[in-house]
């Protein structure tokens, strides 16, 4: 009996590893495809990668823990300004060090906003998160000596990556850097969400009272997840700062927070794949539609969202996964 369960467990773990490998290969395949299909648009692809990190980060707290937030760009912006200020004011121009500064700033912002947002639940929580993003935006605007205010923070000139690859005009280095970062984040997060800690987070989303009755700490666990989420969003912000060499107030905006949530819902909450697919789909669609019809593109994006929410309420990935699961169950 014990033997069969153990080998079952082993094969299942093996199955999960295979699925992760497929996930990584899929990201790489899409990345390579993007590189060759849009060689003149690598800046957009890098931007998508940075935003994908933000949406992954949002998925950690919203999808896995059930925290409602419309202020998640605060973590992204903290990372962007962290990396940007390190370069512009402290002469830390090594891209890896800038990335570390961004991750640290993001994690700190995650701790702070987590400590505030987690005081409340439901609608008050949402309102607190909106307050946070507005406060952060205003603080960055006022502290223009550090942040450049509404002009943006310029003077960010990252060194060559690992002393070898210059951040060139076409954005090739930045793109590869971004994809490597995304794959790393994906692999680490896959591990975290299936760990006991990840299971505890899912438990908290579904019934915090039950978690407490099991002796689990709800608040402590959520704050930890917020810090992790902040590190991921901070990495995205740092990537954005390194690749564009400028940080604007828009990286710390309510609009970006809301768009990140829309992308997550579009792809499907509670799944890392959903976050990635939602980001890519939304940003690609936005780019195509805004080029095709500069006057009505927002209307078309709105219509797409309504269609997804009505006909695929679990998001693009969630609905697709549900279909496959149903088929998989009928088959045997």
């Amino acid at each position: 009996m014990a033997l069969t369960t153990n080998s079952g467990a082993a094969s299942l773990t093996g199955g999960r590893l295979t699925r992760d490998a497929i996930g990584v290969l899929a990201i790489l395949a899409v990345a390579v495809l993007g590189y060759f299909l849009f060689p003149n648009n690598l800046a957009l692809l890098t931007r998508i990668t940075a935003i994908a990190l933000l949406v992954l980060s949002l998925d950690l707290v919203t999808g896995y823990c059930g925290v409602a937030t419309l202020g998640h760009a605060a973590l992204f912006g903290a990372g962007a300004y962290g990396a940007g200020i390190a370069a512009a004011h402290f002469g830390i121009t090594d891209p890896i060090a800038m990335l570390a500064a961004g991750i640290l700033a993001g994690a700190l912002a995650g701790l702070v906003s987590g400590a505030v947002v987690l005081r409340a639940h439901g609608l008050p929580q949402l309102v607190l998160s909106i307050a946070i993003i507005h406060l952060a935006h205003e603080a960055a605007n006022k502290a223009s000596g550090w942040t450049g205010g509404s002009d943006g923070l310029a003077g960010i000139t990252p060194d060559a990556l690992l002393g070898h690859w210059q951040f060139d005009l076409w954005g090739r280095t930045a793109y590869v850097f971004g994809i490597v970062l995304l794959v790393l984040a994906f692999v680490i997060l896959r591990q975290i969400v299936r760990s006991p800690f990840g299971m505890l987070c899912r438990g908290i989303r579904q019934d915090p009272v039950r978690v407490r009755a099991m002796g689990g700490s709800v608040h402590g666990t959520l704050v930890k997840m917020y810090a992790i989420s902040g590190a991921v969003a901070g990495a995205g912000g740092a990537l954005n700062a390194i690749s564009t060499q400028v940080v604007g107030l828009d990286s710390l905006s309510f609009t970006l927070s809301a768009e990140a949530l829309v992308m997550l819902v579009l792809g499907g909450t509670g799944s890392l794949y959903g976050a990635l697919i939602g980001t890519a789909a939304f940003m690609w669609f936005e780019d195509v539609v805004s080029a095709a019809n500069p006057f009505h593109w927002l209307t078309i994006v709105g219509a797409l969202l309504i269609a997804v929410v009505l006909f695929a309420p679990k998001g693009l990935y969630g609905s697709l996964a549900a279909v496959f699961e149903r088929r998989g169950r009928k088959a045997p």
Partner: protein, 254 residues
């Protein structure tokens, strides 16, 4: 002396109403106590006071010699005071296997681990499956809880409580809402609880109470009006009064 669980002179007022009035209750390891009482007797308040969801106005709760009166629910669970819920509280999207594994990891203080997986821990998996088989739900180990029957969900609640290796177990109407056909299995599971565990069951179903309890405590209007053997409880005049009100008198007169 050897009380594992000792409630002394517990008092809680809501406004001017004493919902729990000077309640004392001690249990030794292995005790099987049923707490009964008519609706509004204060059973739920008592459970909330004991589990730490409410703070009493006065009195104390002692667990294995440690005063836990001022502690919240989570530290009490970690000290071995575990409860089940009157209405099942489970993670609907998770499987019984995940539930029990999480409880075991929680008990061992390993639920914060980020770079491991319960499925790669043979000792956790073995304990999980042993517990699920003990309660007869091993075949459902990998079905989401939302897809399994209510009676089986109640069994899973018991498995969760046991996974925490409690010293004192509070069962809040363990058979409530379960179809008649499934109650026997739940009763069996309760009969099979570890012999050294102190169990306090809050229950309405008198058949279950009489089969389970070696001692019955009756709560009425916030006070304990009876504490004794199951045989004596039906003959007690105050208990009859509390449950049947003036009808009891009417019948005795007629």
């Amino acid at each position: 002396m050897s009380a594992i669980f000792d409630v002394r002179n517990l008092k809680k007022m809501f406004g001017g109403l004493a919902v729990t009035n000077d309640v004392s209750l001690a249990m030794a390891p292995g005790d099987r106590v049923a707490l009964i009482g008519p609706n509004g007797a204060g059973k739920t308040t008592f459970v909330n006071l004991v589990t730490g969801n409410l703070l009493p106005d006065s009195g104390s709760v002692t667990l294995a010699g440690e005063d836990v009166t001022r502690l919240g629910p989570t530290p009490r669970v970690r000290r071995g005071l575990v409860r089940s819920f009157q209405v099942t509280r489970l993670f609907s999207e998770m499987t019984p296997e995940e539930h029990v594994a999480l409880a075991i990891l929680q008990r061992e203080g390993r639920s914060g681990g980020m770079f491991s997986s319960h499925r790669a821990m043979p000792e956790v998996m073995d304990e999980t499956h042993a517990l699920l088989s003990r309660l007869g739900i091993a075949h459902l180990a990998r079905h989401p809880v939302s897809e399994i029957a209510y009676g089986q969900q109640r069994l899973l609640e018991l498995a969760l409580a046991l996974a925490l290796k409690p010293r004192v177990l509070l069962l809040d109407e363990p058979a409530a809402g379960v179809p008649q056909s499934d109650t026997a299995r739940i009763e069996q599971a309760i009969a099979d609880l570890p012999a050294d565990l102190a169990v306090l069951m809050i229950e309405h179903d008198m058949d279950l109470v009489f089969r389970f309890a070696k001692r019955v405590v009756v709560l009425a209007a916030g006070e304990i009006i009876f504490d004794g053997s199951p045989d004596a409880v039906t003959k007690d005049a105050r208990v009859r009064q509390a449950y049947l009100g003036s009808y009891a008198d009417a019948r005795s007169v007629a």
